[in-house]
């Protein structure tokens, strides 16, 4: 009934993509791309945001339909019209956003995905099978645990297990390390390595050079929807890859620390013993004491899901204090609404631009205007001054060095462009206080630097920044103060110079939490 993967004799040896072309509303996302993927190989797909990596792989997984081109599996031409077709020829993909059902157990989630789900579940058999596969590749998760209780690292393991049980031989991982803590990344690379040794083909979509150099065998660099080059690991160098990724050489923009002496200045944002009550899946914040002074970046470190989202929303007035006080620009804002917070000159870059910050079916231009419709209103609001909106956008994007199309629905922007749009929008009015969650998530190297520089510039001009991030390197580089959030509490406050990654990492994971992979 259950076919253990090890007995399946039809291995997938090679997948060949030829002349793959795909356009979205006139914009070429993939332009005549050739790609070969072999078994027993980790193939990294490297490129800037919007270079076409995800699109190419989603075509291979049957998620998008190609406009022209051909795909061969073991030299047989194949038509992949749906993920189901892809799985039938043993191609599987793990998306950036996981697709598990939280209310079901690991076993149930995996069983749902089995190619031949029997009418009556052989729970024991499936559990054993899961254990067998997961031990073999170091993907240890408890099959009986509810998915809602798993950490992000564990979720990813379940996603990979799901594909293994479904007998996929080519695994596409879309930016798998984006959400992982450093030690979890190492564990993932071990898993990838053991899969490779067993003859699996792995495609790793990423824009992180270090990871590519660490675990890939072959590297294909995409740029503007075209293949910029394919190299063996042994031929690749960091500089070489960078110059393939970006047409022009990257100037190395430095992030400087210009110290503004914060003596006797009134703080921009103060939490005094602020607590919240959690609703639904939220985390309760407990006794938060925090201050952001002008000319300071306060970094908030922590594994996501420890109250970061709530802290940002509390600052913005989206959720209220159940206890304690919040002051913005010296005034009591504890009971003020998000409109009043924004009106007073606070910018907000939430963690997920698509769901939290934009109206997907409105154009980019309209999206740029919706946070301050009053400013752009003409004739008392009867019409809008789109000229002024464009002027503001031009100024903001020029300063940041971003560019994105204005007249297409925001929904059709790539993830990185969306984030650029939100950053550009939020910085238009030179806010005095910036609440930024996961500022550089999804941004490529160049844009990430630009976004960080924008923050530093704002800081140097006297603005305060509350920077919530999982990227410790970023936090150490930018922050004037560093606080660690764990389980809704601030468990440590440091000057970045007086601490190190290990101490922070220790606090982030909570001293009593044991990680099996470590």
């Amino acid at each position: 009934m259950l076919k253990p993967h090890s007995t399946s004799n039809s291995y997938l040896n090679a997948v060949t993509m030829r002349g793959i072309t795909k356009a979205f509303s006139g914009v070429l996302a993939n332009d005549n791309i050739d790609l070969d993927i072999y078994a027993s190989e980790v193939h990294a797909l490297l490129g800037e945001n919007g270079a076409g990596k995800s699109t190419l792989m989603k075509i291979l997984y049957g998620f998008y339909r190609l406009d022209s081109g051909q795909i061969f599996a073991d030299e047989q031409p194949v038509m992949i019209l749906s993920p189901h077709d892809a799985l039938a020829i043993k191609i599987g993909m793990v998306f950036q956003d996981f697709s598990l059902i939280p209310a079901l157990s690991v076993m149930e989630n995996l069983a749902l995905f089995l190619p031949k789900l029997p009418a009556v579940l052989d729970v024991k058999g499936i559990n054993n099978h899961i254990r067998e596969v997961s031990e073999r590749y170091g993907l240890d998760v408890n099959p009986e645990a509810l998915v809602s209780q798993l950490s992000i690292g564990e979720l990813q393991k379940v996603e990979i297990l799901k594909l293994l049980l479904a007998d996929a031989r080519l695994l596409i991982l879309d930016e798998p390390t984006r959400v992982l803590a450093p030690h979890e990344v190492q564990a993932l690379f071990k898993v990838i390595d053991s899969l490779k040794k067993d003859g699996y083909a792995i495609v790793l979509i990423t824009h992180k050079l270090k990871e590519v150099l660490e675990c890939a065998d072959r590297i294909t660099v995409l740029r503007n929807g075209k293949v910029a080059g394919t190299l063996l690991r042994s031929d690749a160098t960091e500089e070489g890859l960078i110059s393939l990724m970006f047409e022009k050489k990257l100037g190395t923009p430095t992030v400087t620390h210009k110290k503004v002496s914060p003596e006797m200045v009134s703080p921009l944002l103060v939490f005094r013993d602020a607590s919240t009550h959690a609703e639904g899946l939220e985390i309760s914040l407990t006794a938060i004491d925090l201050r952001v002074n002008p000319g300071e970046i306060v970094g908030v470190a922590g594994v996501s899901g420890n109250g970061q989202k709530e802290l940002g929303e509390l600052a913005m007035g989206l959720i209220r204090c159940s206890q304690g006080k919040k002051f913005i620009f010296g005034k009591d804002f504890t009971e003020k609404s998000v409109q009043e917070v924004r009106m007073s000159g606070v910018a907000f870059i939430p963690e997920n631009p698509l769901t939290m910050s934009i109206a997907p079916f409105m154009t980019v231009l309209q999206n740029m205007a919706i946070t301050r419709t009053k400013k752009y209103a003409k004739r008392g609001g009867l019409s809008m001054d789109w000229q002024a909106v464009r002027g503001d956008i031009d100024r903001s994007t020029q300063k940041l060095g971003f560019s994105f199309p204005l007249y297409i629905p925001a929904r059709s922007l790539s993830g990185g462009n969306l984030q650029r749009m939100v950053v550009a929008r939020e910085l238009i009015d030179e806010p005095r206080l910036i609440i930024a969650s996961y500022l550089t998530r999804g941004l490529d190297v160049q844009s990430a630097i630009a976004a960080r520089q924008a923050l530093v510039q704002a800081r140097d001009n006297g603005a305060g920044v509350l920077l919530i991030s999982e990227d410790l390197e970023e936090l150490f580089a930018l922050s004037d103060w560093l606080v660690v959030l764990y389980a809704g509490k601030i468990v440590g406050t440091f000057r970045p110079a007086e601490t190190n990654v290990y101490e922070i990492g220790h606090l982030m994971t909570g001293s009593e939490v044991e990680h099996a992979e470590n």
Binding site: R342, A359, T371
Partner: protein, 351 residues
């Protein structure tokens, strides 16, 4: 300068799209008539003659045509009362109830201030009617905004309550000396003016103006922009500092006010008296029209016209062909079905 260059190439496509859309709608309505023809055949009537009747009586004569327009008036309002809240993601099924309360308020005005001249009395009635509808819609709007109850449920459940209140008012206070199911006839000053010796009244003009205003409002104004943002992604709109709760309440009440205006225009323009149960599901009809029209003003005009042709024609069919009136509901249902099934029916062929 930038703007024109960006928009100009899109314009012909837009026109093309509108044309295709209209053709598609006509085709769909044809399909509905075909389906209904089968029903007529089964019940032993001649579909061709029946249809000929429908069209000659409605579109073939000036009088018939005017009757279609008269039937259309309340639907313009009640459809708009659905389309507007839909823009911020609110589903207003309560047009029926809001219409009744609006009618009751307007009637109160007509009976109380009957000595005033028309130029003063009619605006008072309009304001009262709108206030009544808005009040009725405030209940679901407020409950929704504090996150307590879904507006679809509350608007729907409030519908059967409204006619009971009308009944209470008519039986208790307002009934005419001769008849307990209606109020005395309104004075001439409380009647909306009619045109060309037909029953077409000022409501038609007001309806068209409101639809045009709605279109302009959504397209050009600051508030229209914010409303679209809410309808697109309410969570993002809230984070972006758009006052979500305020919009939910105000928009819901505006929708209610427009439905209330439908009630006012019916009692003042059409009946000249407040009758018990006068509405005959005009509110629900508006809901159907709005959904079929995709909430677009032009579509609302088109669809309410089609529905009116069917309803007025159906009334006549009852007389001329002995077709029971309820069968006409079948035709309406077919129309609704075909129009709503449009995406899956036509996607493959046309694109």
């Amino acid at each position: 300068m930038l703007k024109t260059s960006e928009i100009a190439p899109r314009f012909p496509i837009m026109q093309n799209k509108t044309l295709i859309l209209v053709i598609r709608y006509l085709f769909m309505i044809l399909l509905a008539f075909l389906l209904f023809g089968v029903i007529l055949l089964i019940s032993g009537k001649d579909p061709l003659k029946s249809y000929a009747d429908i069209f000659t009586y409605t579109l073939g004569s000036a009088y018939g045509f005017s009757e279609v327009l008269v039937a259309m008036i309340p639907m313009l309002f009640t459809a708009l009362a659905v389309a507007l809240p839909a823009r911020v993601g609110l589903i207003n099924v309560g047009g029926e109830g809001q219409l009744y309360i609006g009618a009751a308020f307007a009637t109160f005005g007509a009976l109380t201030f009957s000595s005033l001249p028309a130029w003063l009395l009619l605006p008072i009635m309009i304001i009262l009617g709108m206030a009544g509808g808005a009040m009725w819609a405030f209940i679901p709007g407020y409950l929704k905004s504090i996150g307590l109850v879904n507006e679809t449920i509350t608007t729907l459940l409030l519908n059967p309550v409204a006619p009971k209140i009308i009944g209470f008012l008519i039986f208790g206070f307002w009934h005419s000396p001769m008849d307990t199911v209606k109020t005395p006839n309104f004075v001439a000053a409380a009647r909306l003016p009619t045109f060309f010796g037909t029953r077409i009244h000022l409501g038609l003009v007001i309806g068209f103006i409101l639809l045009a205003l709605f279109w302009l409002f959504m397209k050009y104004t600051r508030w229209g922009l914010e409303m679209r943002a809410i309808g697109n992604n309410a969570q993002a709109a809230r984070r972006n500092g758009i006052p979500l709760k305020k919009y939910l309440i105000v928009v819901m009440c505006t929708g209610g006010a427009i439905a209330g205006l439908a009630g006012m225009s019916q009692v003042s323009g059409f009946y000249g008296v407040l009758l018990l149960n006068f509405s005959l599901s005009l509110g629900y009809m508006g809901f159907m029209v709005s959904w079929m029209a995709g909430g677009e003003p032009l579509g609302i005009v088109l669809m309410s016209f089609v529905v009116s042709v069917i309803i007025t024609g159906g009334n006549l069919l009852q007389l001329t062909r002995g077709v029971p009136y309820s069968v006409i509901n079948l035709l309406l249902a077919f129309t609704l079905f075909v129009v709503l099934a449009r995406p899956s029916l036509f996607r493959g062929k046309k694109s």
